[in-house]
């Protein structure tokens, strides 16, 4: 199944998922459409939908084959109609759901050398002082485009080209929880200790993924985030990992 309607492309992903996609671009306006569609479908509470997964320019609907097909009373040929009808009704009611996220979440980051494993090398590579790099990293407002790799790992963009740096060719065996890294145009926070190849700029004292069911991921796709620098002393006072 593959069909287009307005700016949307709808296609099957295997036998138990459907993808709603817009033009492939890292663009806050596209992301906003994706998160609005996510909200719209979620509110419909369609029986048999197991997951709705937004990422950059796509929303993937994963379904339980038996429950979902029985519920929408359709065979696979008709999934096209299901997808098209959904987009049409979504676009009709869209005007009210604009401007979802004006709020900016301010996230503290300590850029002290004991946390900022790669800041010194980055400073030399870019011929910029550490202070200048920190200022640039904290100046941008980042959009959460995707969550994956680990529970709660945010892929945020876009990093100022002046401080962009590709990931390490060989990942570190251990990156501590809370580490804030950059990789090309993306920045993100490691929610748990794990292997990782991103350039580590500092560490946040916030727990960004908490396994308790009422907490889970601190951030969602579509959130807007800005970092601000804190001292080692402030980090210790705010440290949620203790």
């Amino acid at each position: 199944m593959r069909t287009s309607i307005n700016k949307w492309t709808i296609y099957s992903l295997g036998d138990h998922a459907i993808v709603f996609a817009l033009a492939p671009a890292i663009d806050p306006h596209i992301l906003q459409q994706i998160t609005a569609l996510h909200q719209y479908i979620e509110d419909k509470k369609i029986k048999g939908v197991l997951d709705l997964i937004p990422s950059y320019n796509s929303l993937t609907l994963v379904f339980d084959i038996c429950t979902f097909l029985e519920n929408i009373n359709q065979t696979n040929e008709d999934l096209t109609h299901f997808g098209e009808a959904l987009i049409i009704s979504f676009e009709k009611g869209k005007k009210e759901v604009q401007q979802l996220t004006n709020e900016i979440i301010k996230v503290p980051v300590c850029y002290d050398p004991i946390f900022a494993l790669d800041l010194f090398a980055l400073s030399r590579e870019k011929h910029l002082s550490k202070e200048a790099i920190i200022e640039i990293h904290c100046a941008s407002i980042y959009q959460v485009y995707s969550i994956g790799f680990l529970p709660g790992f945010t892929y945020m963009g876009t990093v100022d080209p002046q401080i962009q740096m590709p990931r390490h060719p060989k990942p570190r065996n251990i990156v501590p929880a809370g580490s804030v890294g950059i990789a090309g145009p993306q920045t993100g926070i490691y929610p748990a200790e794990s292997p990782g190849g991103w350039q580590i700029m500092g560490r946040t004292p916030w727990v960004v993924f908490d396994a308790r069911p009422t907490r889970l991921s601190k951030f969602k796709v579509g959130n807007r985030i800005q970092f601000y620098p804190i001292t080692k002393q402030e980090f210790d006072n705010m440290n949620e990992y203790n």
Binding site: L13, G14, P24, D51, S55, N76, I147
Partner: protein, 303 residues
Amino acid sequence: MSIRIIKKGIADSLQDHGRYGYQHLGIQPNGCMDYLSAWLGNAILQNEIYHPVIELHFPSAQIQFTSKHTICITGANFVPVLNEKSIALHTPIQVNEMDTLSMLQPIEGRTCYIAFKGNFENPLWLNSHSYHGNRFEKDDVILITDESPLFNSSAQINPMLIDKVHDFLFNHQDPIRILPGPAWQDLTADAIQKLLNTPFTISAQANRMGFQLSGATLSLTTPNNYLSSAVTRGTIQLLPNGEMIVLMADHQTIGGYANLAQIILVDLPRFAQLKTAHLFKFSLTKPATAQNLYQEMYAQFKH
């Protein structure tokens, strides 16, 4: 009432039908690699088919029962022995306090399941018993309360179904059926030909996250940068070196490699049971066919 792990295996865990509803937060679904064998074991014990089971890989954990239990072993044949005495697969087995279950040799398949009569009492996480990335360690205790309800002979599983499922799972001649994914159109004609006509095997790089394949290497018409998007269990990704990886139960929620195709859900248990030595081929099918096959399989487990 409980069981205790007295020797750890390479990757054994408690699994059920998976943890859905949290993939937008990056939380993997997990669940049984070969869900059909889990359904079968549960059906033989007259449990609900999504009931949690113990999943064993080889070399497997050694398990001691601290009380009486009724179990059923399905899936791979690892030559199960209870206190050094061979026991049958696909049969309810009564075990007693201090009995020890071991697996001797992987003669057929890759993943073995133990279903239990009774309820698992370990805490759920996000509505699922499935372990997420972790595995059984030595001295782990799994609490199971067995109310030992009497078997209801009228609800007994059709014995034909046992043979049917077994033959389906371990018939390695039939191709693994796939549906083209979003990056299928970016494969060269030669790559499509190789993908559909040459045999592959599962490499030694195979775990609950994914099975890397050995065989022909494939290329794309143009090197392409894909924006990361959701993947599913059964997604076949093309790695930068031209090799393929099939994502399995512990897969990450999103992926940025070329998404070539999806193994259809009904064939995933067959694929999960393939051993490293087995040559297999892929063949294309249609989504409606794939869904009908799954619905038919599911219907056989529902009375």
